[in-house]
């Protein structure tokens, strides 16, 4: 997804002279093609993310469309106040991209995990929050963010994520995409965990539980109309994300459900309210938090029993 991001932002820079790329000393050689388009529009802002975010706001308030890129914790929690004040309060159309989101960088330890980024950025007025499930959604999200005048946060994975979508799908910020029709369980999922979710849905299907799966690529604004349209008939709504159970997609959906008089019960799947102290790969970490395909299927079965 990182390579696709570098390619997409380069293509966008070719056709839109307002596009700038700010990197926090990351992406060795990844952005050489972008620099070839226009070296003046690439800024290596160094390992100084607070300053980078304010600089982006200053650029955006003067007609440019900066895309800020670094590892997720450093482009979100590290400079949250700069995002809040300089970007959101000023309604500066900055696009913030976090790479290696969720547990993508599991091996690097909790300093590099991001399991609270969607929760905190979702609280900021005007901020759009997007977690694409594959390179196609990421490219389309980036294009849509550039057309929008609101600040946008896009959390992406690292590399090798399988393609979920046909590249020609239609995409709109805040409009969920049904990936699989079903009748018993409604699974709403965000981000790069999607392959696990689809495999889990197949497992459940084999056990006689028909699962509908939707890509909720946009966490804010939440597609509450989709949920409303699809409420009746389902035994349960399940949200799945590679993010803490608190405050992300699960939090957003449960906030919406709490305003309804009747709704199916809601299961939130994500990581626990803890730091992961042991070392391990992303696969190991997903298994630990039961976010691997069988973990997801088992948790859903248990919830329904």
């Amino acid at each position: 997804m990182r390579n696709a991001f570098a390619d997409e932002v380069t293509q966008l820079a070719k056709i839109d002279p307002r596009v700038m790329l700010l990197s926090g000393d990351i992406g060795n050689k990844l952005f050489d093609p972008f620099k070839k388009v226009d070296s003046k529009r690439f800024l290596n802002c160094g390992i100084a993310e607070a300053n980078m975010m304010s600089v982006a706001a200053g650029l955006a308030l003067n007609g440019l469309r900066p895309v800020v890129y670094t590892i997720t914790p450093f482009t979100t929690t590290r400079c949250f106040e700069q995002i809040r004040v300089d970007v959101c309060y000023h309604e500066a159309p900055v696009i913030i991209v976090g790479t290696g989101s969720g547990l993508s960088y599991a091996e690097l330890g909790p300093t590099h995990h991001s399991l609270e980024d969607m929760a905190i950025l979702r609280t900021l007025p005007g901020m759009q929050v997007i977690a694409p499930c594959d390179a196609t959604e990421m490219r389309l999200a980036l294009r849509a963010a550039l057309k929008s005048s609101s600040p946008t946060y896009i959390r992406i994975g690292k590399k090798g994520e399988p393609a979920i979508h046909d590249p020609n799908i239609s995409f709109e910020i805040g409009k969920a995409i049904t990936l699989k029709e079903g009748a018993d369980i409604l699974i709403l999922a965000s981000g790069t965990l999607m392959p696990n979710v689809l495999t889990a849905a197949d497992t459940l299907n084999n056990l006689g539980l028909s699962a509908q799966v939707a890509s909720f690529h946009t966490i804010k604004p939440l597609d509450s109309e989709y949920i409303k349209r699809n409420l009746s008939g389902f035994k349960a709504i399940v949200t799945v994300e590679e993010h803490g159970k608190n405050g992300g997609l699960g939090g957003a959906v449960s906030e919406f459900l709490s305003g309804l008089s009747h709704h199916p019960k809601h299961l939130r799947l994500g990581t626990e309210d803890e730091f992961m102290h042991e070392m391990g790969t992303q696969e190991y970490a997903q298994k630990k938090y039961q976010l691997d395909p069988s973990g997801i299927a088992n948790q859903i079965q248990l919830f329904l029993s």
Binding site: A48, A50, N51, A57, G58, Q82
Partner: protein, 280 residues
């Protein structure tokens, strides 16, 4: 000789503006209950020199893409900036009669640019304005425009790490259209700035960070104008003007007394201040 005569005329005009501005700031602080009076008064001469001499701005066309940008990075000094903007014609002076009223836009920190023409950044959280200014200075380069960006920083504000992050990136990017003026009044909210964070030697710090730095008396107009005339520099470096100032400057019983970071003057104190400033 003619030039010197012109300079003297200019300086006496600027001093007249500054006295009136100080009186207005003190009066408004008393009426609306606005704190940070000492911080406002130390920056008045820098603001006056910028707005009535240096900045390429047109109050009738406040969104002109070619305009110079000014950011009050020490946003708590906005009672001074609002008076300067009114006097410079960005909005009628009478608008400030409603300063501090519920539902208005004139508060203790600047509103966002979309809420008041003449404001470039809604500062207040320290260490944000200067980096936003760097973004604006870099935007000039990309957009092929010739404007400059000026920012006034507090010495207390130089505690913030983002100021020094910004200083390093500014130097690396050789933004010679970027000038910061440090209102070095030697106090921050609760203590002497030198004792809190060991700021000195401040000019040497900026030089070590790759900037040109000039140290001046921030209340002496010939020194302020001379420093500003050296900008944009020919060295390709951004410029830091370290302006040694006095908190509460202009009123004997406020000068260098940090109680006036929060104190609100009484009606009698306003009268005394105006008398000292020679403003009727």
């Amino acid at each position: 000789m003619l030039n010197q005569r012109q300079d003297l005329d200019l300086i006496s005009q600027l001093q007249e503006h500054a006295s009136q501005l100080r009186a207005n700031i003190i009066e408004t602080s008393s009426r609306a209950g606005l704190p940070h009076l000492g911080s406002c008064l130390s920056s008045v001469d820098l603001l006056t020199a910028l707005y009535f001499h240096k900045l390429k701005i047109d109050p009738g066309n406040p969104h002109d893409p070619q305009r110079d940008r000014f950011i009050l990075s020490k946003g708590h000094g906005v009672p001074a900036l609002f008076q300067v903007l009114a006097r410079r014609g960005f909005f009628p002076q009478s608008n400030l009669d409603h300063y501090g009223e519920d539902g208005g836009i004139f508060g203790e920190h600047p509103p966002t640019p979309s809420h008041l023409a003449g404001i470039e950044a809604a500062t207040g959280s320290l260490g944000h304005g200067m980096p936003m200014g760097l973004g604006m200075a870099l935007a000039a380069r990309v957009n092929k425009l010739n404007y400059s960006v000026f920012a006034i920083l507090g010495d207390g504000e130089c505690n913030e790490g983002s100021i020094w992050e910004c200083a390093m990136l500014s130097a690396a990017q050789k933004v010679n259209n970027f000038c910061v003026l440090i209102d070095f009044n030697k106090w921050q909210a609760t203590d002497r700035s030198e004792e809190v964070m060991a700021l000195n030697p401040l000019a040497d710090k900026w030089k070590a960070f790759g900037w040109d730095a000039i140290e001046i008396d921030g209340h002496d107009y010939s020194q302020i104008l001379d420093a500003l005339s050296q900008f944009p520099s020919k060295t390709g470096k951004p410029l830091a003007i370290i302006a040694n100032t006095i908190k509460g400057k202009g009123v004997s019983f406020m000068e260098d007394d940090n109680n006036w970071h929060y104190r609100i003057p009484t009606t009698e104190e306003v009268t005394l201040s105006k008398k000292e400033l020679g403003v009727g």
